[in-house]
Symmetry: C2
Subunit: 403 residues, 2 copies
Amino acid sequence: MSIETKFQKLGTDNAPGQEVRQTGGDAGFHGPKLDGRPVDFSHGDVDAHTPTPGAFDLFQQGVRMGAAQAYTEYRGDQQIRDIVAPRLAQFTGAPVDARDGLIVTPGTQGALFLAVASTVDRGDKVAIVQPDYFANRKLVEFFGGEMIPVQMSYEDASANEAGLDLDGLEAAFKAGARVFLFSNPNNPTGVVYSADEISRMAALADRYGATVIVDQLYSRLRYTGASYTHFRAVDGVPENVVTIMGPSKTESLSGYRLGVAFGSHEILTRMEKLQAIVSLRAPGYSQAVLRGWFDEPEGWLDARIRLHQQIRDDLLDILRGVAGVTARTPMAGSYLFPRLPQLTLDPADFVRALRLQAGVTVTPGTEFSPHTASSVRLNFSQDRAASAAAIHRMAELIERYRA
Amino acid sequence: MSIETKFQKLGTDNAPGQEVRQTGGDAGFHGPKLDGRPVDFSHGDVDAHTPTPGAFDLFQQGVRMGAAQAYTEYRGDQQIRDIVAPRLAQFTGAPVDARDGLIVTPGTQGALFLAVASTVDRGDKVAIVQPDYFANRKLVEFFGGEMIPVQMSYEDASANEAGLDLDGLEAAFKAGARVFLFSNPNNPTGVVYSADEISRMAALADRYGATVIVDQLYSRLRYTGASYTHFRAVDGVPENVVTIMGPSKTESLSGYRLGVAFGSHEILTRMEKLQAIVSLRAPGYSQAVLRGWFDEPEGWLDARIRLHQQIRDDLLDILRGVAGVTARTPMAGSYLFPRLPQLTLDPADFVRALRLQAGVTVTPGTEFSPHTASSVRLNFSQDRAASAAAIHRMAELIERYRA
């Protein structure tokens, strides 16, 4: 594969926030533009759901600390790792070694990149869930790995299961997959794996000696009735597990660009070595913001979850009122992944029509799986009224282009 | 090459700031510890030379802007690129396209990583100067490239030349090198390439169709008598040039983790695609700090340069008073790269003795070239009195271990 091909596969035209660079036209569009406040569902709105109280003050204290905070170890400041490790251990239910088992990265994307780079080399086979976060596939391909897809029947599964094809996962391991990468809650569907699914996934990974990278970015934002199982804490979990989290989503701290990875010392050591040539370290002063992570004011997280659950339910009500639209109720995170009915525009054009004619930016379903072209992903961490109005406009556009 | 080998080659034990993770002993050490304020010459001291006035206020304004600043395009906020591009064009003497020819990255290390990843694939040959910044070699190796070293006789060259072996560079191109990566001013020696050297390097790169990545991180910090030629602005410069800069050094803004790369649209497009899976974007709020870059208060840069020149001269005076120590006078940047006389400790042990017995942290010369084991790199962007005292302690330790 030439370097040109390698980069063509890294297409970002439909990636969140990149729509401004698109140059596609409006062939096939008809009807008037729909007025209303534009909503960008490709990512959360940190103006509607503002950063954790005190985050900026912690940053300012970091700046005041000066050199000690500007130049940390590549893994991140040891004092901050000492603060964060026990909180992560308590949250996930298994120990976290602050010195050798934790790294601070530039965003969770940074953690994911380092984790995949540290475990996947040319020709390595990697089990990837479909649908799942679009970067997973791109990362595997960038390092020359071979993706073995494992299907998740999230639309047919019972309410407390993700619907992963566990036989498919075993088949992937039998076919030689030695790394398994997945998000829980799943991005884009918002489903959460059941305790039984997680146990069986762990048992399979252990049996076949696979390394597991679990992206738990949204694992704090869980709705009424959700039961969450941390992969790293189940009985019989394999040794080579890296868990990825960060304060960018639930806590709206994306602007500080922080993530963490924790688990296997061997993999963490590689990640640190690689970070040294990728970006040296997570932004120094930003690291100080982690001092407040998992230490938010009493009731703050509950209120955030409650409001997101209301928005989720508002949008689901509107979407389910549109003939032919189906959507599973997300149990965690802030993504909705509705399936749309047959339209006269192909999916990519409809996504562009949504943006240009209705001021509604969404992420096309093809980013997450080749089998979900008729779905779109909506990050509903938005202003409540504006997002409901936007989904009404989306409903109107579905009618306009209904086949 | 297995993934284990690939990561072994990324050794970071001697990298700046990583000394805290070393576990080596003190075999062969003798004599008392030398008292004095410890100085870490492995990087600059942003407490001694504080960030540009107004940087924190710009960051705070970025936070107040909220979502628009937290989630920028992967290349960085377009408004900020519009501000920075003309300043970079004026500084370097050639146009910079704000939309398609500029990317904001997490530090200059981030820019370097993306630039090498976007141009070097498995088996590609890359011309690398010896000595030069240690990450250059590691990056080439990480992507499976083959390094063709080109020697720089910096100790023998005339005062206004770097001493690059231009025949060696041509030989590297003849041997198949299609990428040439170098820093100017050179890290670790502080030498600056002459106009004639730069012109001849550009002509060679053009003749052999090579891509050139120029790391100009320290190009604003130039001392009396330095004449600087921007590679990208010389007559006949090849098309595939990427220039890397950032406000982390001269401006002491490392804690905000910012860098930029500008030049070839084709390479920049690849870098953007890769940034999407590496870290998404440079830290959002931090990007706002770039609004003040190249717009510092009147006289601020001159004063900073003057003070660094004084420290440089202080340290050179002390070092040149030690028998057997030689050091070329750096013309730019804040690195000194003295060659030490023969010692009873091997170089790695002497570096450790410096740290443990004298509170002086330096970077071993082997990081920059296999031929500079008897040199050490000192970042002299330090408190003036403390650094002079530290170099006196270093001189004392050289006497203690003189062979």
